[in-house]
């Protein structure tokens, strides 16, 4: 085995491979920072360039791009409140408030540290536990997925702000928005009203951009000192300290583990991992009430969950030959173009190549750290630009970002309408985060619910069929009971205070 590892490292240790992975990460960070350009698009665009490369070089370049885009997405989420992907949307919840408080550099730093730690742990899990995790992931059927999604949704209570009812109402609206399009099973139209543009459903990216970026731009018109007002810059040069990192470390490690487990399950992706990690960090944090208002731990947890997925999505790909998402499907294509077939046989026939890829993945974490540090120096200067130049520029990015996802101007209209809805929500105190969570998790919820019921012939007993569903449903019940108890206590306190009020 040691001999195989040595041969693998020798295969990897060429300047072409190092340049490929470094170039891939840098390209990924840049592309990820552009709204609308997600990992799938970036990897798909780079695929043709790898045709003439050595298999290891090509695959390492693509994985570098994949990892880079995941981190790059956090930059636009933190700095301009424009998440390019659903996974990065969770980072905006605390990242942008931190940027508005003049702590953009700190938020970007902690996002980078969390990303690197999560990426490293994810790679390590891939190398050490691929077989075990793949086996566990295969035990996830629709009922288990459903139980997991239900548990992930308990975070809605945590991000509802002052009013739980407003949060639930916003989530219900998000669910309704997620049902637009063709029915998942029958292909019959739902809430499309004969518009062919709506048959594919509401695209994630235009809705995300509209919901988060446009309300902030429009809200500028309500501020009086347009010319002089800008993001507080007094603390912009102060990055995250070691104490910050140490404080966030438990959430980072927890988020990484969540990312690894969810990443190994085909079809889940980064968004649920980011939300679940965020939810767990909030539940266990001593500064729980600060979440959503600019809490560093929130950024760290979200990014750890998000990036923990990266290496782990390669587990089912390499060990079983099953792509977990669009990006790994493109990577599967890259393997096949080079005459390689990922799966159990690959570990016997091309073990040297596997070890070479593992070595490259470990290096990619170091490259990500260096590229991220350089990017932060450049990107954090964005906060120096006056509001009356930065917000119109962000609007242009929104127009392009919404358009390029599907090459459709209808998506620009969706973005504008989502922006107006987001603005109304901002002004009426309806929180946007529950809307977003329901919109992202809604299709997963419905799809797995209906698959499960189809499997069982309508018998609800399928949702308690095994230890995994029991585990997640028990966690859900515990969380709901805890939320209910806390809400009741708050309610009683209010009533007592009202009763004691003189007069």
């Amino acid at each position: 085995m040691l001999e195989d590892i040595a041969i693998g490292i020798t295969l990897f240790a060429t300047w072409q491979n190092v340049v490929a992975i470094a170039g891939g990460v840098v390209i990924g960070v840049i592309i990820g920072a552009i709204p609308g350009m997600g990992a799938a698009m970036a990897v798909a665009l780079a695929l043709p360039f790898t045709f003439y490369m050595d298999p290891i070089t090509g695959i390492l370049m693509l994985t570098g791009i994949y990892k880079g885009t995941y981190y790059g997405g956090s930059a636009s989420a933190i700095l301009i409140n424009t998440p390019g992907t659903p996974a990065a949307a969770c980072t905006t919840l605390d990242g942008y408030p931190l940027a508005r408080k003049g702590e953009a550099r700190r938020a970007l730093d902690i996002a980078l540290y969390a990303s690197c730690v999560a990426d490293f742990l994810s790679n390590l899990s891939l190398i050490l536990f691929a077989g075990v995790i793949a086996g566990f992931a295969l035990r996830f059927g629709p009922p288990e997925f459903f139980a997991l999604v239900v548990f992930s949704m308990t975070i809605i209570a945590g991000v509802s702000g002052d009013s739980l009812m407003k949060g639930i109402a916003a989530a219900a609206l998000g669910f309704l928005a997620a049902t637009v399009g063709q029915d998942l099973f029958y292909g019959s139209p739902r809430l499309t009203f004969d518009s062919s543009n709506l048959l594919g459903g509401l695209s994630f990216v235009p809705v995300l951009i509209g919901l988060f970026a446009i309300p902030q731009i429009l809200d500028q018109f309500n501020r009086r000192l347009l010319v002089t007002e800008k993001i507080a810059t007094t603390a912009k040069a102060i990055g995250a300290t070691f104490a910050d990192f140490r404080y966030c470390l438990p959430s980072i490690i927890r988020g990484s583990v969540i990312g690894v487990i969810l990443g190994a399950i085909p079809g889940i992706g980064g968004a649920p991992a980011a939300f679940l990690s965020y939810s767990e960090a909030r539940r266990t944090s001593a500064r729980r009430e600060n979440f959503g208002k600019g809490e560093l731990e929130g950024v760290a947890a979200s990014e750890a969950g998000n990036n923990g997925v990266c290496g782990a999505t390669l587990i089912p790909l390499l060990s079983l030959g099953v792509p977990g998402d669009i990006v790994t499907a493109v990577l599967l294509g890259a393997f096949m173009i080079h005459g390689l077939q990922p799966g159990p046989l690959m570990f016997h026939q091309n073990i040297h190549l596997i070890y070479a890829i593992f070595a490259g993945l470990l290096l990619s974490t170091v490259v990500l750290y260096i590229a991220g540090k350089i990017a932060i120096r450049l990107l954090s200067r964005i906060v120096d630009i006056p509001d009356n130049l930065i917000f119109p520029s962000v609007l242009v990015l929104c127009f392009f970002g919404a358009y390029v996802v599907n090459g459709s101007s209808f998506d620009v209209l969706i973005m504008i309408i989502a922006g107006l809805v987001g603005y109304l929500m901002l002004k009426t105190g309806l929180p946007t985060a529950p809307f977003l969570i329901a919109f992202v998790l809604g299709p997963l919820f419905e799809d797995n619910l209906r698959r499960s019921l189809l499997m069982s012939g309508g018998d609800l007993g399928i949702f308690v069929r095994g230890p995994i569903t029991w585990f997640f449903l028990a966690l859900t019940i515990l969380t709901v009971v805890s939320i209910g108890r806390r809400s009741w206590q708050d309610f009683r306190k209010q009533r007592l205070a009202a009763a004691e009020k003189p007069g």
Binding site: L226, Y403, S409, G458
Partner: protein, 189 residues
């Protein structure tokens, strides 16, 4: 469970005269939000979903129907949830008012701050409408210039340069680097 808006609360202004009317406005605003949610929930449940969701005939199991009612959740349950949340919110707003009376110092946020906001929204819609005619780069340049002007830029020349350079750079990136076609409208020639 709080049912008042986050911007309400006692403060120095709370002792000033005229607070009653501000508090009344907050109360009215929250009441309107609650009632609007009830209305929206009912609208979806009774009109939009029955009209907008086509249920194919001869389904093998009701559990797999696109309408999913009553066996499982979305989308009717989402509408029912909206209705319920609106009802509870309205109830809380009313009971809060009954028990606590007006909240001192409460101030509702203006929905439409000024004419600039309306103009900004109009610019976005007009720009969207102009995409097939002028193309995305030109429309983006117009939007950037319009928003920059409305936000009261002190450096119009810089705004002008930015309005040309930024859409051009994005166009070049998406067209040549990312290979994503961007519409040019009349400028296609």
């Amino acid at each position: 469970m709080k049912s008042t808006m986050s911007n309400s609360g006692p403060g120095p202004e709370g002792r000033m005269s005229g607070n009653e009317s501000r508090s009344d406005r907050v109360f009215r605003r929250n009441l309107i939000i609650g009632m609007t949610l009830v209305f929206l929930g009912a609208l979806f449940l009774l009109i939009i979903i029955p009209i907008g969701i086509k249920v194919p005939g001869h389904l093998p199991k009701a559990a797999t129907s696109p309408a999913m009612w009553p066996q499982a959740a979305p989308p009717q349950a989402a509408a029912a949830l909206l209705l319920a949340a609106g009802l509870i919110l309205t109830a809380f707003v009313l009971t809060d008012r009954y028990l606590k009376g007006p909240t001192p110092g409460a101030r509702p946020e203006p929905l439409i701050g000024n004419w600039r906001l309306v103009a900004g929204v109009l610019i976005m819609f007009v720009c969207w409408g102009l995409i097939p005619i002028l193309g995305l780069p030109a429309v983006s340049a117009l939007a950037l210039a319009g928003f920059g002007y409305l936000m009261g830029t002190s450096r119009p020349w810089l705004l002008g340069v930015l309005a040309v350079v930024l859409p051009a750079v994005l166009y070049a990136f998406f067209t040549w680097a990312a290979n994503v076609p961007v519409p040019l409208g009349l400028f296609l020639e």
